[in-house]
Symmetry: C2
Subunit: 209 residues, 2 copies
Amino acid sequence: MSLLDKLNWRYATKKFDPAKKLSTDQLNTLLDAVQLAPSSAGLEPYKVLVIEDPEIRAQLREAAHGQAQLTDASQVIIFAAETNLDENYVTHYIDQIATTRGIDRVNLELFEKNIKNSVNSMTEDQKIIWNHKQAYIALGVLVSAAADMGIDACPMEGFQAGKFDEILGLKALGLTTSVIAPVGFRAEDDAFSKVIKVRRPKEELFIHV
Amino acid sequence: MSLLDKLNWRYATKKFDPAKKLSTDQLNTLLDAVQLAPSSAGLEPYKVLVIEDPEIRAQLREAAHGQAQLTDASQVIIFAAETNLDENYVTHYIDQIATTRGIDRVNLELFEKNIKNSVNSMTEDQKIIWNHKQAYIALGVLVSAAADMGIDACPMEGFQAGKFDEILGLKALGLTTSVIAPVGFRAEDDAFSKVIKVRRPKEELFIHV
């Protein structure tokens, strides 16, 4: 299948087959892809939770209007934005660049200063919005990678983020729920898998200049 | 190449080869992929500008700290969020679903009402932030699709959005610049193509529950 065939094959899966689970290899490859998502300045100001625990998933389902994807999918992937993006976070990131690339930290000082200025120029609210947006890039990569691998996913915003934060103890970790995507395999009788995909027509979506 | 190899191959291309352009087929396939990006409730509350005009690109470059990607890439892809997401927008979307799927509009009334309630529950600022986030999903799909096709891209936030809006006349179109990605092919001497990719290590990025 071509990439476009795969993207046409995917859809927001409403009904997962609870008997079908990702293999360890499939899950690892999918997470490897998510890890490679780009982010502004490379900061990756989010974490990615991989939820398998059935009790936690039952609680999350209640906080997501009872939607069955939360319990029936193979895993629930939760993107959570960092709420404490500060100079320490940036310092740690620059340390990682120096270590990974084996370069002298002094060569990264200008880059570090620029990022810190940029981080310090934002209010706390602006920073969290910015972090959420970076998480959404990773969601786009997850959805694409899953389709590429023949794995179903359902990107979802229809949940109570505050309750998710409570259930998962995210506040103490300096995180807040951004967006989620249960992953797994569609049930054969999911009616939504049969309907025609609706997208803005090209002449509405694209402007050529 | 596997998907992971492709995602490892890609990087935020700093120096494009100005002599290398996407073929018409490559550009169309890339835009087809972007068109298939998912969005909340399927609203796609953004447009995608494809900029080729050299004079406009020179102006955009000035408004992007002089970064050469703006003029040297094959095209500059600009995601612009809708600033007038209102009931009319939703009505038009529901019309498109009815037409595309050939179903009676009355069967979509509950879905329509839910989306309108959700749109009306947000302030104008909240709606624009929400629309930006949807555009970032499409950016994630663009980056993945480009990598899949061996096309280079440079997702960028380092530009003056207000100036971009002015240069492109976006206010009159009910749009505001969200995020951009010049696309094309890397210059052979782009030093950034040789450096090791830095990502948060798995034990920092992922939390298994």
